[in-house]
């Protein structure tokens, strides 16, 4: 239990997918303008990350590994994620229209979000167990959401600032991201401190 909590926490704040691994930068910069869309995107990412881990991990362990096809992981995972996102979309549309209305527009974007492919591949590369993988995916998704929400707050302040002409738009956004990333650096060593690894 302690170990799972350590994985969850470190995926959320220390190895944050966006701010320390640079995965999912596109949605991080593109969808962080509004608080509401940041929440929607975040929840959709958590959902897809956990669900695709639930599918890809057994697929790798049960089919690819016994057939000695481990090198196909990249190709098959991206296909599984793409398929899966489509299925989720259809499923939500039929059964939970309210949730579909909230998340629907974010789902197609997630196929090409490298954080999702990244988390499924990392779970395999780091030799995590099934339960650990799920916690890692959950933590990764929550971390993505936290970064997105924090950054949407920073950006709403940035909108009203008087910035030099050359730095307006993307450059100032990136520099703001750098400062948010510095604040996350403060968490390094936290896990060792709490759990004494």
């Amino acid at each position: 239990m302690k170990e799972l909590l350590a994985i969850l926490l470190s995926a959320i704040i220390i190895d944050n997918f966006v701010l320390s691994k640079f995965m999912g930068i596109c949605p991080f910069l593109g969808v962080s303008k509004k608080f509401e869309s940041a929440i929607g995107m975040g929840i959709a990412v958590i959902f897809v990350m956990v669900c695709s881990t639930l599918v890809t991990y057994p697929f790798y362990m049960g089919i690819l590994l016994p057939l000695k096809l481990g090198y196909l992981s990249n190709m098959s995972f991206i296909l599984i994620i793409a398929l899966f996102v489509q299925l989720i979309e259809i499923f939500l549309k039929k059964t939970m229209p309210a949730l579909y209305k909230a998340l629907g527009v974010y789902l197609p974007l997630i196929t090409t979000n490298c954080a999702v492919l990244g988390v499924t591949l990392l779970n395999i590369n780091n030799n995590l167990t099934f339960v650990q993988s799920i916690f890692n995916a959950l933590g990764g998704g929550i971390g993505f959401t936290v970064a997105l929400l924090l950054f949407s707050g920073v950006r709403s302040r940035l909108e009203t600032c008087d910035i030099p002409e050359t730095f307006k738009g993307v450059p100032s956004t990136l520099i703001a991201a750098s400062i948010v990333s510095v604040s996350f650096m403060g968490f390094s060593g936290l896990i060792e401190g709490i759990f004494g690894k």
């Binding site: 701010l19 320390s20 691994k21 640079f22 995965m23 999912g24 930068i25 596109c26 949605p27 910069l29 593109g30 969808v31 303008k33 509004k34 509401e36 869309s37 929607g40 995107m41 090198y71 196909l72 990249n74 190709m75 991206i78 296909l79 793409a82 398929l83 579909y100 209305k101 909230a102 629907g104 527009v105 974010y106 197609p108 974007l109 196929t111 090409t112 979000n113 490298c114 492919l117 990244g118 591949l121 990392l122 590369n125 002409e165 050359t166 730095f167 307006k168 738009g169 993307v170 450059p171 100032s172 956004t173 990136l174 520099i175 991201a177 750098s178 400062i179 990333s181 510095v182 650096m185």
Partner: protein, 235 residues
């Protein structure tokens, strides 16, 4: 080529199969990273060293040229509705292949790139070129386009890697530079900072207004992305 597609703008002038504009536009004018603002993940993640930047750039160029070749040849076979999954699988195949080559011949680079090598699969430069260019043009222009964009990407990674390595580690391509390294520049925060400054510098030099939005025009997801950013109202 007998199967000329009747598409607007850029390819109208292509009377001879070799049109060097297809190649040169990717180098500076439409540089995918600094002007197009695509492929941000690898640009930020692996540019802690200039060497890694070149390695990543060349690996991406290889995948980009190969996938452009295959996609331009198959453009009439792939059904429009399922084109994105098809493109991704083609790209993923070449990425796996590149991974084998690097693992066999350049193990140090393979270790340095790590997971980001596999993530070339979802690099939006490659998917973007497949969607915007290769699926609409014939073989030779697609190869030139892939080469140009790839070299432009490599150049941007090299510049970014050089700045971060010199400032952050006090070395460059194996040379030691007599200065106190500012470690922050090779940490994630430094990556965002340097990229922001480079893009600002490019805007200043090019003398144009900095882009308000990311260069999503090449990304197949652009439409839904804009919809999200506007508040996520679903139709």
């Amino acid at each position: 080529m007998s199967t000329q597609n009747n598409l607007p703008a850029e390819e109208k002038s292509a009377k001879s199969p070799i049109n060097w504009v297809d190649f040169t536009k990717g180098l500076i004018k439409e540089n995918p990273t600094l002007v197009g603002l695509l492929g941000m993940c690898p640009t930020l993640a692996i540019t802690t060293m200039a060497q890694n930047g070149i390695g990543m750039g060349l690996a991406t160029t290889f995948v980009l040229v190969c996938s452009n070749i295959v996609i331009s040849l198959l453009k009439n076979v792939i059904p429009k509705a399922v084109r994105l999954p098809c493109f991704i699988v083609i790209i993923a195949g070449f990425v796996t292949f590149t991974g084998f080559i690097l693992k066999g011949y350049f193990p140090a680079l393979y270790d340095a790139l790590g997971l980001y090598l596999e993530l070339i699969t979802v690099n939006c430069i490659i998917l973007g070129r497949a969607e915007v260019f290769a699926s609409k043009n014939s073989l030779v222009p697609s190869i030139l386009d892939g080469l140009g964009m790839g070299i432009g990407f490599t150049g941007a990674l090299f510049v970014m890697g050089s700045i971060r390595e010199i400032l952050g580690a006090g070395s460059w391509m194996g040379l030691q530079i007599p200065m106190t390294p500012l470690t922050i520049f090779i940490m994630p925060a430094g990556g965002f900072f340097v990229l922001g400054c480079i893009i600002a510098a490019v805007n200043k030099i090019a003398g144009k207004k900095p882009p308000k939005e990311l260069g999503c025009h090449g990304c197949p997801n652009a439409e839904s992305c804009t919809a999200c950013a506007k508040g996520g109202e679903n139709k």
